[in-house]
Symmetry: C2
Subunit: 318 residues, 2 copies
């Protein structure tokens, strides 16, 4: 199946779905955006426009914002998906809702069209069970904001036919991604999975009074942050000479935290309904002014780091 | 003790020590640089000049390179340390050598002068045992290149008097650092410790065939790398709403790797004397051309990310 010029459907137009619509439009696709929820459908038109404005302000827009209108259909009607070669599902992380959405999608698309879910919580192999054609179903996990991140995790379920994943892998490069292709379904996805190993150790160190949240954030901002975006984990090891690690692994691995339990402070956060910057109460506390500053800083930083990373493409280094 | 205008000694002028000398000079200190090794002493003069040239090229130099000459003493003679208020030890990671260096330093400085070690391998509490005045001894762990990183880990040993650590913590801010102050000695330091948790999980995922080194490097470069330098670990959790993590911790913590053993591939690397980009053989393999490109890219990226991070100082966000 060809990749360029296919029509792409997006089902579910919340924060992530709307941002993905904008990404696909600037990548040159005709996009059919579907939400069965009237409120979400109403809100999404503005959200998508606002993303296109942000993309324009970041200097990443080819052509004019208005030019995308003719390539864009917004609807509550699944039948509009009829000519799509690919449909991205971005609805809420509830299995039963996703399953009913898949029935609607499968009832309206060609048998050979691909369906990809943006889930980061439910295993692909589990969702796949409810599909009539599970072999054409896979995960395509985007990072936010989707048009300012090169990350994309393409994940096969047990029944996914690999060639479909490879096709999407190729297509994702045309969207400006540097995708990863996981041939086995993984609970937690790669970055998340690796970050959970960090969380487990970090909450342990805080509980033991060794380091504060602030200390660990500084360490990651200024130390890991100074090479992470260029090298990742393993190339960094190679770059620092590699040979010292064995001895340190031998000393440190036995000391790392192996807890299975949820850290006590996270239980307190849940009890207190803490939602971080969203309700000013989290692992840190925030004033409204501070929460707004973090929002603004993140929006600006994302553009900056995206442009910086673009100066160091992997294919110029290997 | 006042912080500004104190004379600072640096003992050990290898790669790290030379770079630290340059950092202290541009921070405005008189610096006494000591190496008892004739070859190292010879090489260090050029190294320090080369660092100052790099600092100048990065636009971070106040005044002229030549102006620093009168603030700089290079010697094999420990007696030159007599008037230093702080001495930074940067010699090789061998306890016996460090102990003999501490004897030389303590024999030549004022009783109230502070001694800090740049070790990342030996616990402060262990090194401290060999000192006549252990209360004035602590860890000050720099990241490389020392003048282009805000990271510094100040670590107390069991016998360190906290006020000395607090004094150094204050001084480090004048060097442009955002230091962390660890009141308890930790095997592996904070970033390293958290990264070892990543390594353990990452080697496990590779062994299980879930994700390749390349996949995981991409995930860290483009996903974690897109927020790490701005937020660190815990603020990122707050920023993403915090409340979903408990459920995911509950699911994922029991699945994380708890191995104590060194990963098989690391044992192979050690057997094969792999030193990464340094001898073109590591977790990846490299041509000479590629290794050179990574060197150049890292030098350039460091300056870029340092300047980018400087646009998001923590005190403007909280």
């Amino acid at each position: 199946m060809e990749t360029r010029n296919i029509r792409v459907g997006v089902v579910g137009l919340g924060l992530m779905g709307s941002s993905i619509v904008a990404s696909l439009l600037i990548a040159g696709h005709d996009v059919v955006a579907i939400s069965p929820l009237p409120d979400e459908l109403d809100a999404s038109a503005n959200r998508i426009q606002s993303h296109l404005s942000h993309i324009e302000a970041s200097g990443l827009l080819n052509g004019s914002k208005e030019g995308y209108r003719e390539h864009f259909t917004l609807s509550a009607d699944y039948r509009q998906l009829a000519d799509c070669g690919l449909v991205l599902e971005c609805v809420t992380e509830v299995s039963e809702i996703k399953k009913s959405v898949y029935r609607q999608i499968e009832g309206n698309i060609h048998p050979e069209a691909i369906i990809a879910t943006n889930t980061s919580a439910i295993p692909i192999s589990v969702l796949q069970k409810s599909l009539r054609h599970p072999e054409r179903f896979l995960g395509a996990h985007w990072a936010e904001p989707s048009y300012l991140t090169r990350f994309m995790e393409i994940t096969c379920g047990e029944k996914t036919v690999l060639k479909h994943a490879e096709w999407l892998f190729e297509l994702a490069h045309e969207w400006g991604k540097e995708p990863t292709l996981l041939k086995k379904d993984l609970r937690g996805f790669v970055t998340n999975r690796l970050m959970y190993a960090v969380y487990r150790e970090a909450f342990h160190l805080e509980k033991e009074g060794v380091a504060s949240f602030e200390d660990m954030d500084k360490a990651f901002r200024y130390d890991a942050g100074s090479w992470m975006t260029l090298m990742g984990v393993f190339r960094r090891m190679d770059f620092t000479g590699l040979s010292d690690y064995e001895e340190i692994f031998k000393n440190v691995f036995p000391k790392l935290c192996n807890d299975k339990e949820i850290p006590g402070i996270m239980q307190i956060m849940v009890r207190d309904k803490a939602k971080g910057t969203q309700n000013l109460h989290g692992l840190y506390s925030y004033t409204e002014e501070e929460a707004r500053k973090w929002d603004e800083a993140f929006a600006r930083f994302n553009t900056d780091i995206y442009k910086l990373a673009a100066q160091y493409p992997l294919n110029k280094l290997i």
